[in-house]
């Protein structure tokens, strides 16, 4: 068989991807994350389950990517500030075809490309090293400025968390993005109201997060981060808006979403899953998705 020249590597995303297909992608992302959690016996699966719908819309509708060519210059950039959400992003990258499915077996193991905290030098598709929270949005500002300098039309996305908003550096970046009219910058805040020491609204209450960004000169949307239709509308608006302001989507998510016994488990930053519960969690996820799809 001869290889015919293809005009370009196909992209993973499709700006017309139907909701049912996006929901199926989100289900797969959740499933990959649980599998990785099972390998390691732990992991931030609560966050991964919560953010899976956001990642499905990002990777299968919004972002312009070439899975076989993660460093393709024309790609939209997706920066993960929150290094501990790596398990969720790996799941999305696996689902998008950037990382082979088999590799999830190596999650968090020695010499793996999938360390517990996301780092650029380890993983294809991981744009920055997160983990020291409060750095992603500022790097996104620099990349947004750089892309504008090059005169190319890509977007820079930054996924950050509600707890991360406590870092003042985030607000230096927020002010700067508006000052420079970075309409190519789309921030997504995972508002799951949970951080290391408790509910984010109690640890360092930020009040109305969307209103704060608006006051900083941003276009802000507040959506149910587990409502696929609402997410699609929000991402489409953020991309298509004719407005010089940077955009933020504050996505209210439910940790553990899709696995009812984890949704209702006592909410902590790090949801404990017992050894015998992983299979059950995957089974419940499968059943739930099948019922919803039927």
């Amino acid at each position: 068989m001869s290889l015919s020249a293809s005009p370009s590597t196909p992209t993973a995303s499709d700006t017309n991807m139907p909701l049912a297909e996006l929901s199926r992608r989100a289900y797969h992302i959740r499933r990959h994350a649980l599998k990785m959690g099972q390998v390691q016996g732990q992991g931030y699966v609560g966050q991964a389950l919560g953010i899976a719908d956001v990642l499905a819309v990002a990777y299968f509708r919004a972002l312009n990517l070439r899975p076989a060519e993660p460093e393709w210059e024309g790609r939209d950039r997706f920066l993960l500030s929150i290094g501990h959400y790596a398990i969720a992003l790996y799941a999305a990258l696996i689902e998008a075809g950037v990382i082979p499915l088999e590799e999830l077996e190596t999650y968090g193991s020695d010499d793996s490309r999938l360390p517990m905290s996301g780092m650029a030098s380890y993983t294809p598709g991981m744009e920055i090293s997160g983990g020291s929270l409060g750095q992603g949005l500022g790097i996104a500002v620099g990349m947004g400025l750089g892309l504008k300098r090059k005169g190319t039309g890509q977007f820079v996305y930054n996924l950050l968390s509600d707890g991360e908003l406590g870092e003042g550096s985030t607000w230096e970046a927020a002010a700067s993005a508006a000052h420079w009219k970075l309409d190519n910058l789309i921030a997504v805040v995972d508002f799951n109201n949970q951080q290391a020491d408790g509910p984010s609204t109690q640890v360092l209450g930020m009040g109305d997060i969307a209103a704060k960004f608006e006051a900083f000169g941003w276009h802000a949307q507040f959506v149910d981060g587990n409502d696929m239709e609402a997410l699609v509308a929000a991402f489409d608006t953020a991309r298509e808006l004719d407005d010089p302001r940077p955009r933020v989507i504050v996505a209210q998510t439910l940790m553990g979403q899709g696995v009812p016994f984890l949704e209702t488990r006592e909410k902590t930053h790090f949801i404990r899953v017992d050894e015998d519960e992983w299979d059950k969690a995957i089974e419940v996820l499968d059943t739930g998705f099948a019922a919803a799809a039927a």
Partner: protein, 336 residues
Amino acid sequence: MSVETPAKPRLKTSAMIASIAAEGQRTISAPFGHALAELAAKKPEIVGMSADLAKYTDLHIFREAHPDRFYQMGMAEQLLMMAGAGMAREGFQPWLTTYAVFATRRAYDFLCLAIAEEGLDVKVACALPGLTTGYGPSHQASEDIAILRGMPELTIVDPCDAIDIQQAVQPISDHKGPVYMRLLRGKVPAVLDEYDYTFELGKAKMLREGADVLFISSGLMTMRALEAADALRADKVEAAVLHCPTIKPLDEATIRAAVAAKPGRLVVVAENHSVIGGLGEAVAASLLGSGTVPSGFRQIGLPDRFLDAGALPTLHDRYGISTEQVVARTLDWLDA
């Protein structure tokens, strides 16, 4: 009632960035700004970014030459580092400027993780290194090198004068990776063109030879060491001066060779920095670790304390880094 007249006139603190030039000394204006502006004419990837201190770091010269390549990031040093990292990720070579205290104390985590850990090609040029302002500890970066020496993969440069700065800009730019450069700005003394000297990144250079004392120095203290070496001849003391503008990676081979060549010389490391964590300790560790032991080893640097406010000549004298103090202390050590 009569007021007593002080014996010595009280010097005034002067501007934030006090001149380090001696009266009548030859100076060059804004050597960094001009060198960068010239280099940028050849290298389109260079951009300049400052945290509200372009004028005070001579980056305004670059801004005037290349207005569309200058980014004002505001009084936000953490952002300066992050945005610099983002620019580098998009293929540009950002030159970031602020004061040394802010880049090192305030923005450490950002320089460390967003830039150095990623090996990004970002240059950080910082004014007011060591004791070059009389405004007190808020602006005196007496420990900037100590803060940064532990940061892996970061190159640290401490140029001596306007000539050194002019020559250093291109090699720093040509080196792919993060560099921290201590900056002298404004009317900067010009000294090194009187010597057979060319700046090379990572290299220490012998500026003059001498049998009795070996000064190993960086930054403006090389200027002081050269002046001290001249003055010491009146006391029949011959002093060599080895200039180490690159603090990290340290040119250990040249330093060891210089010490080993004449082990009877008193080694005096002179730096515009705390005696803790700077060139002195780096040289000591290198010599001891390699078994290259000189007849004596002394440090001239800033004391381990928060420094006073006041006029620079007063403070340099008080803390033993003025030329007169370098001479007097060296003679004391030789007598001891």
